[in-house]
């Protein structure tokens, strides 16, 4: 390959400032040096290296405090204008390892709900900043609304069941919820960011410290991908939180979804770009029909073109969303119905595109793509896991309803 990734998978560079470019460059170096160049070692010793590489990313480079305000010790990327830079960073992380990417994305999502201007919540920031700026690796987890169970009526967030409730309790609140499935890291999380319903059934967001003894964790799940994130079901049995740990402003749940769509999209585009690198090497070193280089066969070339164009258009779409989110004065803030809906559409499309890119590329790689050796099958499993989690319930149905509701003013759905 005689062109760089950024020459191939273009994005509007003017959206990313010089300081951000330096951080993005650092993260790419981290990805190449610590993971991509050591794929075999990384695969064989995954659990240990997963923690070590997360530490070097979060503590040595300092990304744990990326989106905290500068005055609190962070990088100060808590301004909407930083959105393209943040998604670029997540893309670089995803290129190395999707599970690290998902945890990093969730961290940024939690801070987006609490520290992003103009909604900086100083009380929460004062509590979280010293923890996330300290020299210890932190892992937040996100619990979103999802599906309910027949026979149980739940409050809803745009059709999705909210499984946690929050009620005033003394000078704070009590959070309850049974057998909820977080997006990530339920087994090891030190902080849960959970969408709850208040007494009137209105959605809000509670921050629940992970070490509370009234949290019951199920067994660690075995899943298709992202297993290093160590997820499990959790129940909150009257977990008490301070008053400042509840965020109930309008649009906060929508804002969480918006950021999640953007950043998980970034992770997946990164995975897609790394898959492109692998399949490029493959197609240049394999022959078919007794001697033709695989990429020179027109049918194989058309499959390779699908890999490239799905990844290419996914990245462009994603930066469009980042651009929209970086201009709240033009488009509304990230918790508005408009931006939330755009993010649902683009988030869903990006995941579908990257999934298709990998599925198509696997068709050429055959058994090599299916074996662990080439690392492709891990990308494939990780992306499918992200995609299913992002669907939440009922495949594309909730996103279709969100879209129809906004574009056609549907009232009943």
């Amino acid at each position: 390959m005689n062109k760089t990734l950024d020459e191939l998978f273009v994005y509007p560079k003017e959206l990313v400032d010089e300081e951000s470019k330096r951080v993005i460059h650092l993260v790419r170096q981290w990805a190449d040096k610590e993971i991509i160049s050591k794929r075999q070692e990384y695969r064989e010793n995954y659990e240990k290296l997963f923690i070590e590489t997360r530490k070097s990313l979060n503590l040595t480079i300092g990304l744990q405090r990326l989106t905290l305000p500068e005055e609190s010790g962070g990088f100060g990327w808590n301004n909407p204008a930083s959105t393209p830079g943040i998604v670029s960073v997540l893309t670089e992380i995803g290129r190395a390892d999707a599970a690290i990417g998902v945890i990093s994305a969730v961290k940024c999502v939690v801070f987006a709900a609490t520290t992003l201007l103009p909604h900086l919540d100083k009380d929460v920031c004062d509590v979280l900043a010293p923890i996330y700026c300290a020299d210890e690796l932190k892992t937040p987890s996100l619990i979103l609304p999802g599906m309910g169970t027949v026979g149980e009526e739940t409050p809803l967030f745009l059709g999705r069941s909210i499984l946690a409730t929050v009620e005033p309790d003394g000078d704070g609140y009590a959070v309850n919820g049974k057998n909820m499935r977080p997006l990530n890291s339920g087994a090891v999380a030190d902080l849960f960011c959970v969408v709850c319903a208040d007494k009137l059934g209105r959605p809000c967001v509670a921050l629940v410290p992970g070490d509370d003894r009234n949290i019951v964790r199920g067994r660690t799940l075995l899943e298709t991908g992202l297993n290093a994130s160590a997820n499990c079901d959790v129940s909150f049995n009257n977990v008490r939180i301070p008053k400042s740990y509840l965020i109930s402003r309008d649009g906060v749940v929508e804002q969480i979804y918006t950021w999640l769509n953007l950043l998980l999209g970034g992770v997946s585009v990164g995975v897609g770009m790394n898959f492109f690198e692998i399949v490029t090497e493959w197609s240049e070193t394999r022959t078919i029909k007794g001697g033709t280089m695989m990429k020179e066969n027109p049918l194989c070339a058309s499959v390779l073109a699908d890999v490239a164009d799905e990844t290419f258009t996914a990245r462009l779409l994603l930066y469009n969303l980042a651009h929209i989110m970086s201009k709240p004065d033009d488009w509304g803030y990230s918790g508005s119905q408009r931006v939330y809906t755009f993010s649902q559409i683009i988030g869903s499309q990006v995941q579908q595109k990257i999934m298709r890119a990998i599925n198509r590329g696997l068709e050429l790689m055959g058994s090599a793509g299916y074996s662990r050796e080439w690392h492709v099958e891990k990308h494939w499993r990780d992306i499918k896991t992200i995609q299913s989690y992002l669907c939440g319930v009922g495949a594309e149905a909730p996103v279709k309803m969100d879209t129809a509701r906004f574009f056609f003013d549907c009232k009943e759905i």
Partner: protein, 426 residues
Amino acid sequence: MKNFDEFSKPEEYISPMDKHLRSALRNWAEKEVMPLRRKYDEDWKEHHLIEPAFDKLMGNKGLGIQKALFPPELGGWGIGQSDYAFTVACALAEEVGRADTGMAVAFMVTYWPLTTILVDPHVNWRLAREFAPMFCETEKAVFAANAMTEPQGGADIENLEITGGKTIRTTARLDGDEWVINGHKLWPTNTGGVAKLFIVPCTTKPGSTDINDFALIFVPADAKGVTQGGPYEKAGMAADKNGDIWFEDVRVPSWYRAQGPGKDAEVFREIIPWGLIGSMGFLCGAMLNLYEILYDFVSTKTYKNKPLKEDDCVAGIIGRIAGDIDICRILAYESARMGDRRNKPYGYPLHSDEVVSKMRNLKDFVSDRAVDVFGKAMDVLGTYGADREYDIEKHWRDIKIIQLWMGGKQLCQMEAARYFFNCKTL
């Protein structure tokens, strides 16, 4: 609909043995496989859990199904000489595939080399007698493998029409009354130390495009000079081991060649339809199981506080899934019937373009639908889609390789184009 058995299949084509075979296999699957299959991924190397289930399926202490192709006079069931051979194969693949497609492929691929010597009109009685005791007189599961793919060529070996065998590097040299075989094969099912018998596609004259120089030669796994590598770790299909095999001056009797010059190429082309029917059966079985799991899920989980299946939008998605399963099953049995018409005046030989190209085309279609259907079902399950407890994700991982094997999608497309559009240079 009462249960998954009511997905369409052409009842007038179905073998008289169908009900009995299905009942026996379903009992075995539900008792020996389905309760344990979630642990199979960790058992990929040792097969501590998987092997006993295979014994009960294939060996004489259990169902004894590994002898099914052999003629009754040699201790088998005579399926190889039956007018329902393909339809039965489809049903077997479906029932085992419903429980675990990895087990289904490992078990069915054992038949694959044997079809070249046990299926009418090509029964090689001398070799049938030679190998019958190995499969018909044991309580243990005994596996065979088709050592086909070579490291440098990928699907080239299955593309004999174009390559004429010139890319094959595994060689067979006649030395007196023995074949001397040398070469390296990659990834066949039932390698990694599993198979007791290989069939080895090879050339008697390297670089030749003369189809008479293509040979299929049986090689016992314990022959001197055979070395097997360990199994590859994969995304799924834990019950199916794939590894490398090296043949270094391996000597076997001259009569271990399946059919002889010219005929070997013909029966090699005939094994393709068997692989395609098996593939479609595995996929349909897995999809029937998907339906069972999905039915329960969408009936008990809610969206907008209604069962998922009662929401019009979700119903649109799961309705399409069920429709695709129904169509795929019809196509699989229609393909099987093409195979069973091989000896009929209105049928075509198995090696004909009519059969091979159409079956490749149908397998390609069914594979694509299955991959889509499983992906969509995982999304319907949402946060539970990737959870091993729901089994759908296991099937999703397992079946992807079915879409990719036997030359993959692109070879299917090429064969379809050659047949339907009379392409001359592809």
